[in-house]
Symmetry: C2
Subunit: 334 residues, 2 copies
C-alpha cells in the first residue's frame, strides 16, 4: 500500500461564476497512510453537489469555506483498502466527506457511514445518504403534503428534487416539477412519475405555473431561489408551506434578487422554512428505512449522471449550473 | 331616533399612494334603522389600521376590496343606542366593523363583541381587540421568544408593535425596536420598555442592527416588509423565527422590492411565517385573558394617538404612512 498515488483536485483561486481552469489544480500525491484509529478508502464515486460550489466562496456557511490549497470538499463512497481501527474492515463500503480525490482517510465520525446491507453504491449516493435524507426531511417534516395537495418542486430532475417529488407523490399529492429543457421535463414525468413538469426555459413561468396549478400551490420544495421562487410565491395557496432547500441561482456569484412576491407569505399566511438535513442526523435511520421501503415497493426510483475520472470533477460541478445532470451527479473514480 | 344623521366617509376613487381629497367623500345620510335582530351603535372611536388602506386597492385579500360608493371599512367601538335584538341592550359597549362613520348597525357576528367588564374603551382598541390579539398570537404562537433571545420589532411605536415587544419583554427576551425618529424611539424605550430602539430615519439600519443585536436576531416581528425586513434577514441568528404581520411599506402602491437577504432563511435554517389573527378567532379569549393579567401586573401599557371627528379619518389613515402615530391611531367620533 505504500506506493499508491492519490490524484486530488485542490483549490488554488476562488472562482467567480463557473469554476475556471486555473481555479483548481490536479495534484498527484502519495496516498495518505492511516494512523491508529483510521482506515484508508479507495473512492468509487465522488458526489457532486451544488453545496460544494458554495464552499469555494469566501463566505461563512454551515461548514467553513475550503481554504486555498485544500482539496475541494465533497461527499463520496468507496471501499476500505487498509485499516488500523476496529470500526472498518478491508472491503467495507463506506460513505465519507472525501473531497475531490481518489483516496481518503476515514475515522469514526459523522460523515462516515458503513454501508453493510448490500445496497447498491449508486443508490446510496442518490437515496441512502445526505441527498435522500435532505429530500425526506424537507418534504416529510416541513412540506407535509397530503392527498389532494398541489406540490411544486424546482430542480425537479436533480438529485434532491427528483426524490422529494416522489415522496410527495407517495403522499397522494399532485406533483408539478420545474426543470430546464424538454429532456429533463420528460425524465421528471416519465422516469420520476411527476404529474406534470414546467420547462422554465420555455418562457413564461408564472403563466405555466398558473396553468399547472389552478388551485394554487400548497407545498413548494425549492432548490433554486431567485425568479423561480418568486414565481411560485405568486401562486401560493392559503397556508402554503415553502421548503427552502437550496438557492442554486445564487451560488455562483452570491448575488441574487429578492422575491417581490414575498408579500404573499403574509397574504396567504404561508410558512417559509429553511432547513439542513444534517440537523436531523440522529434521524437518518428513520429516513433511510422509509426510503428503502418505498424503493422496495417500486414507488421510488433513482437515476445518476456519471462522469469518468477524478479529473472530471470540476466539469461535473460546473455541469450542475449549466443543466448537465439528470438525477445525482457523480464522478466515477479510478 | 328617527332623525339622527350619520356622517360617513365613502370611497369614490381608488387612491394611488396616500388617499387624496377626491378619493373619498364625506356623505351625510340618515342613520340606519335596526331591523329585527339588529342594534344601532353610536361609534365612540373608529380604529385606524394600515389594513384599511389595503382594502382600498382593487386587489384580493382576506377581505374583499371596498367597492366604490361604499363606506371605508374599519373596526370601531361604540355604544348601543337602539336595539331590536336580545344580544345587545341600550348602553352596551360593543366593537364592530363599523367603517368610517358615526353610526353602525351590529348583528351577532364575528366582528361584534360586547365589552362587558368595564374595560376602558381605549384599552379595548389597543389591546382587547384584533390589535392586541394580533400582537399576542404573532409573538406567542410564532415568535415564541424565550429568556435570552434577541427580539426585533418593526413599527415598534405602533399599535401592534408596541404590544408585541412588551410581550417579548415579559418572556424575558432582550427587545430591540425599529421606529422612525427620536420621539418614537424615545416612546419605544421609555413608555413601552424596550431595551433599545433603532431609528431607521437616522441612517444605516444594517449597521445599527448589528450594534444592537451582536449575537443576531432570534425573533423578528415584522410590520413593514421592504428594506427593513431585508436588513433584519441579514442579521438572523440560527433557527430564527420571523413573524410576518404586516407589509406597510407596500400598502400604498402594491409595489415592493424583494428582500435579497432571503437566502439567509436557508443559511440560518430560519422560519418565516405569515399569519392573520382572525384565523385564531376561537382563541381570542385566551389572548385577552393573558393580556389583561399582564396589564393588571403593570407589565403592559398602551398608548393612543387620537384625532377628532369623523372627517379626520382620512388624515388619520394617511398619518399611519407618514409616521403620525404613537400607539393605536384612533378617531374620536361625534
Amino acid at each position: 500500500m505504500s506506493d499508491l498515488t492519490n490524484r486530488q483536485i485542490v483549490l488554488r483561486r476562488r472562482p467567480h461564476g463557473l469554476v475556471a481552469p486555473d481555479d483548481t489544480e490536479l495534484v498527484v500525491a502519495p496516498a495518505p497512510r492511516p494512523a491508529d484509529g483510521e482506515a484508508l478508502v479507495r473512492m468509487t464515486y465522488v458526489g457532486i453537489d451544488a453545496a460544494a460550489r458554495t464552499w469555494l466562496n469566501d463566505q461563512p456557511g454551515y461548514l467553513p469555506p475550503v481554504a486555498l490549497g485544500e482539496v475541494v470538499r465533497a461527499a463520496g463512497i468507496g471501499e476500505v483498502v487498509e485499516t488500523r481501527c476496529d470500526a472498518y474492515a478491508v472491503g467495507d463500503v463506506v460513505t465519507t466527506l472525501s473531497g475531490f480525490q481518489e483516496y481518503a482517510i476515514v475515522r469514526d465520525d459523522v460523515f462516515c457511514t458503513p454501508v453493510t446491507d448490500g445496497v447498491d453504491q449508486l443508490a446510496v449516493m442518490s437515496i441512502y445518504g445526505p441527498t435522500g435524507a435532505t429530500a425526506y426531511f424537507g418534504m416529510h417534516d416541513i412540506g407535509r403534503p397530503k392527498a389532494g395537495d398541489t406540490v411544486v418542486v424546482s430542480a425537479a430532475a436533480g438529485a434532491t428534487g427528483s426524490v422529494a417529488g416522489q415522496i410527495a407523490k407517495i403522499a397522494g399529492a399532485r406533483v408539478v416539477g420545474i426543470a430546464g429543457g424538454p429532456e429533463k421535463c420528460r425524465a421528471v414525468v416519465e422516469d420520476f412519475g411527476f404529474d406534470e413538469c414546467v420547462d422554465y426555459r420555455a418562457g413564461d413561468v408564472p403563466a405555466a405555473l398558473k396553468a399547472a396549478c389552478p388551485r394554487g400551490v400548497n407545498v413548494y420544495f425549492d432548490n433554486v431561489g431567485g425568479p423561480i421562487l418568486d414565481a411560485v410565491l405568486g401562486r401560493l395557496a392559503a397556508k402554503a408551506r415553502v421548503v427552502l432547500c437550496g438557492v442554486i441561482s445564487s451560488y455562483l456569484t452570491g448575488e441574487h434578487p429578492g422575491p417581490a412576491n414575498y408579500v404573499n407569505i403574509l397574504a396567504k399566511t404561508a410558512t417559509v422554512q429553511g432547513f439542513n438535513a444534517l440537523d436531523e442526523w440522529g434521524r437518518f435511520d428513520e429516513a433511510f428505512a422509509a426510503l428503502r421501503e418505498w424503493e422496495k415497493q417500486g414507488l421510488l426510483v433513482h437515476r445518476e449522471t456519471v462522469y469518468e475520472g477524478i479529473e472530471s470533477c470540476v466539469d461535473a460541478l460546473n455541469g450542475l449550473f449549466t443543466g448537465a445532470n439528470i438525477g445525482k451527479m457523480l464522478v466515477r473514480v479510478g
